[in-house]
Amino acid sequence: MVVGNINHFAVVAAAIASWIFGAAWYGVLGQQWMEAVGKGKDELMPGGRPKPVVLIVSFVAELIIAEMLAGSIAHLGVGQMSVKNALISAGFIWFGFVLTILVTTHAYQNEKRALTVIDGGHWLGVLLIQGLVLGLLGA
């Protein structure tokens, strides 16, 4: 399904892949993440599971991110969707607009550096995985 130079099948696949990565990332780093946040498990994950609203917001947001990432590469012209171009775009967007804002907002809210590293690493993974999937499936 290619609409307006964007392969929407690849967009959905990229969103799903990055969402699964996010679940694995916070699953593995859950303990360190909670220590960095400074809140207990009961407060962050009542019942031992992430709140459904967090999972839904994450997926919808990652769907938008994948669509916009695909759109930014589609603007380069027909035939420009490749793994290399998608990874370069993803890396630049992470550095220019995600990491910058994360570092600033966390600094102003006096969050621990470990939290910025864990959350920043999550977004780098999300964007690179989306770039990889878009480059592989969307070309």
């Binding site: 809140k39 962050l44 609203v53 947001a61 669509e67 990432l69 603007h75 370069i88 804002i101 600033t104």
Partner: protein, 180 residues
């Protein structure tokens, strides 16, 4: 590690970093970048002056010690330098180099990558929706001001480098044109 071999490998992959950095530096409209930074800083200052009390109320419910300090303002300043350069790069890349195009690019980047990541991070941390709104609107205003300034300077040829072939703030050299 053999740096010469690494550089040759990167060049073979189409990533000639020293040449690209030199190319970047030559194409940057430093007048526009500076003006965009000042505009972004002023907009941010006005925004938090208006909603500062609400922000403090929302933020301090989560973490103590939040707020403005010189160190944090330096962090914010460095972040905005990077954002301005990247915004200029994206405007050129997307082909939206005038004032309207600058605002358009700013809004696309905000909607796609800024609002989304802030909402997820704040939801994850159990922060209030009000705080997410205040902070994400701040970045929308900052990016809009930056896009408007960079685009206007391009449109009216203010501070455009003489050697630049196109009236653009920055040329993104890492991606070859179609058929190239």
């Amino acid at each position: 590690m053999d740096l010469t071999a690494l550089e040759a490998k990167l060049k073979a992959m189409g990533l000639d970093l020293p040449a690209q950095l030199a190319h970047y530096a030559g194409q940057i409209n430093s007048t526009a970048v500076l003006a965009a930074l000042v505009a972004g800083w002023i907009v941010g200052w006005i925004w938090y002056a208006v909603v500062g009390d609400v922000w403090a109320g929302e933020a301090t419910t989560g973490v103590k010690g939040s707020g403005f300090t010189p160190r944090r303002q330096i962090f914010g300043g460095i972040a905005q330098v990077i954002m301005t350069l990247m915004l200029g790069s994206f405007m050129t890349r997307l082909g939206y180099t005038n004032a309207v195009g600058g605002v358009h690019t700013a809004w696309l980047l905000w909607f796609g990558f800024v609002m989304t990541t802030i909402l997820v991070n704040y939801a994850n941390l159990g922060k209030r929706v009000g705080l997410a709104l205040i902070d994400s609107i701040h970045w929308l205003l900052v990016l809009t001001a930056m896009g408007l300034i960079i685009g206007s300077f391009n449109q009216w040829g203010i501070g455009v480098p003489v050697q630049a072939s196109a009236p653009a703030a920055i040329v993104q050299p890492t991606v070859k044109p179609a058929g190239g």
